[in-house]
Symmetry: C2
Subunit: 120 residues, 2 copies
């Protein structure tokens, strides 16, 4: 049973951003299950970001343990799905995380695209 996932490894830059991505997608879509999240991210990034199960499932479990997500199990086509959605706390926290992400992106752009030196 080979896993031919051809796991291209993601840039180190994505490290630390998974929780924010999950929460934003749940805010956007109401409820989603793990596999669906991986596919959605792959689609949105045109295949550039591939979330691995080894990263995703522990992250979901942790967010649930922290009270930011609620889970609801469904059986579809005889296969199990665990649907996650934001709790009220999770919704508030999502606002903070997205604000942090905006700051982060702004700061990184300042570092990488410094305002051009004036020449006389």
């Amino acid at each position: 049973m080979p896993r031919n996932d051809k796991k291209m490894k993601n840039s180190q830059l994505y490290k630390g951003s998974l929780n924010t991505i999950i929460m934003k997608l749940l805010e956007e879509n109401g409820k989603m299950y793990g596999y669906e999240i991986t596919q959605k991210v792959k689609a949105i990034t045109q295949g550039e970001l591939n979330i691995t199960e080894g990263a995703l499932y522990p992250a979901l479990h942790k967010l649930e343990a922290e009270g930011l997500l609620d889970v609801e199990i469904e059986k579809v086509d005889n296969r199990m799905r665990k649907y996650y959605k934001l709790t009220e706390t999770g919704q508030k926290e999502t606002v903070n995380r997205l604000s942090e992400l905006e700051d982060f992106i702004r700061n990184m752009q300042s570092l990488v695209n410094p305002s051009p030196k004036l020449e006389f």
Copy 2:
């Protein structure tokens, strides 16, 4: 000797971006020493990103070990400074890292600012 660094912890989002930041600053400024890098980053981000020594110095040593940085020791005011600059390999690699950063930022923005749903 209290360490009143009031180390506010940086968002997890910055995890993985330190190498890119260092390399970009060195590309920009030719040569810099560690402490100078921390101050420069703090200034550019208006105090929002504070690089700790515990993260910075190991990162510099690793980049040097990988052949991306060269080091040159100077003594200024009886205090030691270790100036780092990009090697030729480091300069080429910086181009790649910055390209990765652009992709990363673009992908994060796609995830967070999805094109608005059309309403009819």
